[in-house]
Symmetry: C2
């Protein structure tokens, strides 16, 4: 198929964390940051708007959020407007939809906003509402939220492959090393393996520092076609492709081996085949480290190392900048926090900043040309990957 090439040509971000700001404040802050980043942008140029948001219906008692963002940022949408949701991956979904809409020519210049306001001064609904992400009547009714699920995953991985708590802790150490150089991250202090191991137990073997946080934050991205990209930036970041895969929806049913993320392996293979690349070609991997064990399994399923060797991979420093592949050089979900709808867009923000060379030296991946961003949603049964490059896409055939 012949499609238009699509690039990210502008970015905006808020500080992530437990913010005093309201949901609307976060949208305004990310929007202003984007408009500051793209001085040539006239709001009238924007014809489409895609909002990634997981469940504002629960956290801020508001649905129909896409037109609300349009109003807040003063945008008259003329072609396509949508809010996309897939829990923890809602932000990446908004990018994917914008990409396809521009690729067809229906949209020309699209704004993508990923946003979530999870913390509330008045209501203790942040965690309790996470029960809605699983199959509520089965997993949810049994209290099976993310921490106990990923704890079971970690136990299985330790049992099958000898992965250690120390190796998991090393993931957090790496991601805080980079997060300490990211002024937008929720957590900006370095940590040691001992600090992770000694942090409060959440669900054995996962300690507090093995877990990502409940976070408020927003990211805005500007996307357009090749024809117009240079109007807005000298350093467009091209979208090469993206796939998703789900093969078992909920844990109570057919997921099978918990430490074996088949859907991710299939998604990665499909993406690599589509783009005619191998894992060796990837310079930067933004992956969904909602828990330290997740990043270890993602090394394996994305093909950066053999199955079962993810623990060794971090231990040998292969996922640091300068190793085999730079994984989460912005600090990942662990350092940045995980405002569900914003996370996928924050990964794209990081990749753009890396390709532009606008990150501190200590976390800069010099010479990077190809990056992927991975999200999982729910109980690791649904995986979402997109690929970005400083180089324009070669002729890519999507069909099988």
């Amino acid at each position: 198929m012949s499609m238009r090439n699509v690039a990210i040509v502008g970015v905006g971000i808020t500080r992530f964390g437990v913010r005093e700001a309201s949901w609307k404040d976060l949208v305004l802050e990310a929007g202003k940051s984007l408009f500051d980043d793209v001085p040539n942008l006239d709001k009238k140029d924007i014809d489409s708007l895609f909002v990634g948001a997981a469940q504002p219906e629960r956290w801020i008692y508001q649905t129909h959020v896409a037109p609300l963002v349009a109003e807040l940022l003063g945008i008259e949408v003329k072609r396509v407007i949508a809010r996309t949701e897939s829990a923890c991956a809602s932000g990446q979904l908004a990018i994917r939809y914008a990409w396809l809409s521009i690729a067809t020519g229906l949209s020309d210049v699209a704004l993508v906003v990923g946003v979530e306001k999870m913390n509330s001064k008045f209501l203790n609904i942040s965690q309790s509402s996470m029960i809605n992400v699983g199959n509520r009547e089965f997993d949810g009714a049994n209290g099976f939220t993310a921490p106990p699920f990923f704890a079971m995953v970690a136990q299985r991985h330790m049992h099958l492959y000898g992965t250690t708590e120390e190796q998991m802790a090393m993931v957090r150490v790496k991601n805080q090393e980079y997060g300490s150089q990211n002024p937008y991250a929720q957590f900006q202090k370095k940590v040691t393996v001992e600090q992770v191991l000694n942090s409060r137990m959440v669900a054995p073997p996962l300690k507090l520092f093995d877990c990502s946080a409940i976070t408020d934050g927003a990211v805005a991205l500007l996307l357009t076609s090749e024809e117009r990209a240079r109007e807005f930036t000298d350093t467009p970041v091209w979208i090469l492709g993206g796939v998703q895969h789900v093969d078992a929806a909920h844990t109570t049913n057919q997921m099978g081996e918990l430490a074996d993320w088949v859907a991710l392996r299939k998604a990665a293979k499909d993406l690599y085949d589509m783009l005619k690349i191998t894992p060796d070609d990837i310079d930067i991997a933004e992956v969904h480290d909602c828990f330290t064990i997740s990043e270890i399994i993602e090394y394996e399923e994305l093909g950066f190392c053999k199955k079962g060797e993810g623990g060794k991979f971090i231990e040998e420093g292969e996922s640091y900048i300068g190793g085999k592949v730079a994984v989460n050089p912005g600090g990942g979900l662990l350092a940045n926090g995980h405002p569900l709808g914003a996370t996928g867009t924050r990964q794209a923000w990081e990749i753009v900043m890396q390709f532009r060379g606008e990150v501190p030296k200590g976390r800069y991946v010099d010479g990077a040309e190809l990056a992927i961003a991975h999200n999982l949603s729910g109980m690791a049964q649904l995986h979402h990957i997109m690929a970005y490059s400083v180089n324009k896409p070669r002729d890519i055939k999507f069909g099988r």
Copy 2:
């Protein structure tokens, strides 16, 4: 732009109404209905899934609904999966995304499911949750849900153009005339103008029968490209195009004249220009008659009659089958009920059934070739239109 042609090649539906069925039951019922409709379909053919759902987070305490549908219907998604939301138009958004994804070649065969379970035996949350659709802190906090808003719209239209309560009632009479011949509709009895006028007052001048209902229901659609359409059906229904327009997000801000739906007028002009058609070319118009006054204003803004003459248009029978254009020949939202996420997909179902000639004679639009489906979401500031035809798209240029 060169895009692949995309068709609806299969349909499934549930009975709409206050159903004993759970949300999951509705999905299964619509899915079975679809699989029965397309005997040649192997579930393995389906590579993508798009779910339109407005706020299951409030009505069934469940988010992350797209993978739940995948599990319920036994589908391994390999390419694209998303839940789309734009309140009352959530279903149409799912169709639009599927269309674009197939058009690019990323998806090949896509399932679209629009679903909403709004009635609950245990919780009185159906109406109270509708407050989330508006700008909750402003419109919502003032109790400004749909009925009072559309009542004000009706008052303005009566004041400016002399529209009468009788004319509004005639919209319901027409839609029940057709709804009485639709075995899936929530309300299947004919009504008279007097019955509408004498029904309980809700918000002056709107009586109970001027309002659509709180409804449970689901619809499933199968979409594929021109290359594969004939594998599944002899009567593909082609998607010609679609646009959306929002120019003022919430009523408390800049909407301006309530009886003047500028965003719809702009969307219709854009669509007609894109497809090189005029309102005269349209045989069937499925429009968003959430209230009787809405359908009257939609006649005007879609260009079927002059501004202000919508009341006269229904009075003279021009929106009946055999009139200028057949509007809501399946009974519209008024007869079918309005399960938010399912409504947009139910309109597509109606158009497919019409083009196939599979509806009862008394509501069949003989010889129809071109249809549009219109939704509004929120307080009439955001409009969504798609166009369908029995004929393949001519060369359509989306760019401006």
